[in-house]
Symmetry: C2
Subunit: 158 residues, 2 copies
Amino acid sequence: MPQEPAPTPAPDGAEANDKLLPAEPTQAKRFGKTRTAQSTALAEDYVELIADLLATGGEARPTDIARRLGVSHASAIKTIARLKREGLATARPYRGVFLTEAGEVLATRVKARHRLVVDLLRAVGVPREAAEQDAEGIEHHVSEITLAAFSAFLRRQG
Amino acid sequence: MPQEPAPTPAPDGAEANDKLLPAEPTQAKRFGKTRTAQSTALAEDYVELIADLLATGGEARPTDIARRLGVSHASAIKTIARLKREGLATARPYRGVFLTEAGEVLATRVKARHRLVVDLLRAVGVPREAAEQDAEGIEHHVSEITLAAFSAFLRRQG
DNA sequence: ATGAAAGTGTAGCCTTGGCTACATTCTGCA
DNA sequence: TGCAGAATGTAGCCAAGGCTACACTTTCAT
């Protein structure tokens, strides 16, 4: 959906995006950023889940991933292919999925961020269930600055 | 992108989604929900912005909307067409965009939610600029339960 | 050891939301 | 008043991320 902003014009001030993935050319101010975060979010979810599956069961199979994400296995496989293209994962036919260095790094950051968001939500009184659930969507939109503020708040709170 | 979950299977426990838009058949547990929220988010942004433009300048023109959202006017028009299809907005050629009753209602809720999210972020120490920015992405993923918790927290805080 | 079940992979289609290019309609000013 | 320039609208293309259907491997239990 977000198309590579078109090689042509490079519209206006591409202010740095402080999200987690490598850094893509951003073209718009507020909303635009929100918009582009999308594709990133999917990759982050996959990487996070793959790391989790590997840590837990020792292997990450497309079907498990699909089941956990609530999509068909075909969709999962397609996305895994993208992760491969982007250098976040490796996978050989019928042999499961693994993370590259970059994938590991991303997974670690995503996991830490997820934890932080859940903790913050809990700290302000959100019930556990809702906190876990909402964090899943929220985490992809939290900037480094906000993350730092969350962290500080939690320290302050004790 | 999220396709109507296919009339066919209606897989598993379609637990109620407490987001803002009407209510779509949800098929997956955690992530699935996050995923489907997407299309909703776009509509919410548009409606919020249109309400804002109407309140501020008295009119909402496609070009202004496009500029504010950082997309081409063609994309804006296409999305406006969707809003019309969904009964959230009305628009006659060259005559600007307006909100239907439903659109107004949605706009009001979205605006209140946005305010609440920003206030919460500010309250836990997120700088204004970052709060505004991140809220734009976060707001679409905050459930009613979490919203209530935010509200309570802010009251408690004073 | 073999055949059925489970897991994988591929192909092809759909919708959404981007974009550019081009056509049309308004509008305001000279 | 008439036309240039801005705003709108339309068409057509693209990629992402869904899905189903179908084909091919693996695995495992008999």
